[in-house]
Symmetry: C2
Subunit: 371 residues, 2 copies
């Protein structure tokens, strides 16, 4: 028998910049035009975003001097499927897009995940840029390179780690965001407050009290801080080998609630409920001080996110979805098969991973939160 070594030890530099500000479309065009990263750009967006911003973004990006094309998908979570990837890929072929082309994700989390996934597969990988238009995407999902689509077997069943070439966060897009979707985005910012920087919680509660949640400088401040926290964690653990899991604070129970509601509850609402549960369990089992817990629940309430789980959602159903992998089913957030990992906090900014919690405590907590 013969052996050959294939030696691919190498440095790869996938570093990138996040640009955050109001009305930065012209700046985005300048950066793309100067970069040499591509000869042309294809904007991927959905019909709702396109109606509001499509033409304006297209015209602004043309100032880069690059050819700009636009592919418009139907709007909504149902667009996040492999079929949409195939539709986009076939349109890219028809446009003659090649390895010198850059995709631009103009939209919320669905468009970002879908565009990043398509970029990672088209011609075995082309660059893409995130241009998030929702608060949720601006504080969280546009950073970190997780891409994916849903399939019959589960959400994000297929995906890749494919870092964007750059992220351009224009807070101007938030002005046209419907109130419910806007408020939903605060859930992830509150998460960053809980796991890393309590000042975010105070800032959000104060802005809510002063009715200035849509104030530009406030928004820029919480987006910058949320992105700073997320990117620091991603730098340390890009592929979610360990540390990055703390970003799932509120998400384990949150995803179960979201699924149990048949996705009638939004991701932000579900995560808010998941954080309420995680906070309460952290108090019961891990000594989280009452005043710390209060800061989290106050911020959640202040932005108008729910504090109580609809009575229509059966606790047993939520629990069953938490332990799906016991039935050899899988949620991709559970990386090691048989144990469900929960993110708990000992105090604000002090998260840790707990593999497995007593089901009784979870059930009791879910019941307490019903209302």
């Amino acid at each position: 028998m013969k052996k050959l070594d294939v030696t691919l030890d190498r440095r790869r530099n996938d570093s990138y910049q996040i640009h955050i500000g109001e009305a930065i479309l012209d700046w985005t065009a300048t950066v793309l035009g100067r970069s040499g990263i591509a000869r042309r750009c294809v904007v991927i967006t959905d019909s709702a975003i396109d109606a509001l911003h499509g033409e304006r973004v297209h015209k602004a990006l043309e100032k880069s001097g690059l050819r700009i094309d636009r592919i418009v998908l139907p709007s909504g979570e149902e667009a996040k499927t492999i079929d949409s990837v195939l539709i986009v890929a076939e349109k890219l072929i028809a446009l003659g897009a090649d390895r010198q082309s850059l995709l631009i994700a103009l939209g919320g989390g669905v468009i970002g995940d879908l565009t990043g996934f398509t970029a990672s597969l088209y011609m075995r990988g082309i660059p893409f840029v995130q241009m998030p238009t929702t608060l949720l995407a601006q504080v969280d999902s546009s950073i970190g390179g997780k891409t994916g689509v849903d399939a019959a077997g589960g959400k994000n069943m297929l995906g890749t780690f494919h870092q964007p070439w750059g992220v351009f966060i224009d807070t101007g897009f938030l002005k046209t965001l419907p109130d419910a979707i806007f408020r939903s985005g605060f859930a992830e910012a509150i998460k960053y407050g809980a796991i890393e920087n309590p000042a975010l919680l105070d800032d959000i509660a104060k802005a809510a009290a002063e009715n200035s949640l849509r104030d530009s400088s406030f928004l820029e401040r919480i987006i910058v801080e949320s992105c700073r926290i997320k990117k620091t964690i991603v730098e340390l653990d890009e592929r979610e080998g360990g540390l990055r899991r703390i970003l799932n604070f509120g998400h384990t129970v949150g995803h179960a609630i979201e699924a149990a509601s048949g996705y009638k509850l939004s991701h932000g609402e579900s995560v808010a409920l998941g954080m309420n549960a995680a906070t309460r369990i952290s108090q019961k089992l891990y000594g989280l001080p009452a005043q710390d817990a209060e800061k989290i629940t106050t911020a959640i309430r202040a932005v108008g996110l729910p504090g109580t789980i609809p009575v229509s959602l059966a606790t047993d159903d939520i629990l069953a979805r938490l332990s799906m992998d016991k039935k050899a089913q899988h949620n991709v957030h559970k990386k090691e098969g048989k144990t469900v990992h929960f993110v708990m906090i000992r105090g604000l900014g002090k998260p840790f991973i707990q593999g497995g919690l007593p089901e009784k405590v979870i059930a009791e907590t879910l019941e307490e939160l019903k209302g």
Copy 2:
């Protein structure tokens, strides 16, 4: 406006080993069992391979001490679609496969490409191993980390670079290979002879003359040498930025012929015809000596691969498929849009990339090869 840098400069070590020999199944089990790379393995294969080798491989791999499962797809090129990826992914979910699971591609190029692609997407990437069963996969496609599936828009339209954790080449599998498929595999070995090591051409021609093409030590020798050449090129240019393109010798025209035949000609037969054309054009335009050209065409003829293009294939049709991107259509092998790249040789072992060839010369050469 604020800017944040996301710094992901990092070393990644995706090095791996290629093991080549006869009857190395037990060795494969030992290596996998000792490695700690996974807690369980899922063999992905097709019904034809499974009928011949499935049970035996399964039993041998169980000696690793790891849990072994098997997913069997229908056989044939039509299996290389995104639908097959979804089928495999959903079966993996049903089996409870997680990030501690390793996929094993047991089969030819289709199974290898499909399994590698699925591994790169499942839970955002899990490890996989190549266990190639055809000569073509053993000398070429199991090495180098190119994965992908076909779609309506073109072959390999979606794919990734995802290196295997290891490659286990058991020449014993070749014994059950039908003669036509076996002979087809020599096309890529002849390619390595043409672009890098002329001794391969002599070795193949001699074995053919002595009727010993199925001799184990001969096969091991040409597989080791082909793999050595390929892995050296992949080490220098993993993502096909430049050098790796020389592996497309005979493939540009070959793919056009393969498509023009409606895939009735096999990949090996088509590449053989493409190499005949590339050799002839290299003689006409780039001074390839007649005796060098003769060595290539002799080896092709000796293993029973075709020297002439079926008259039923219209030269215009082949040319149209070569220049598809002029009509804004794309073949993923053409990375930069408007120019078709051809690999030419000045002499044996002296390849170079030529961006664009006079259409007249290609047409004339295709006509000369008709028969």
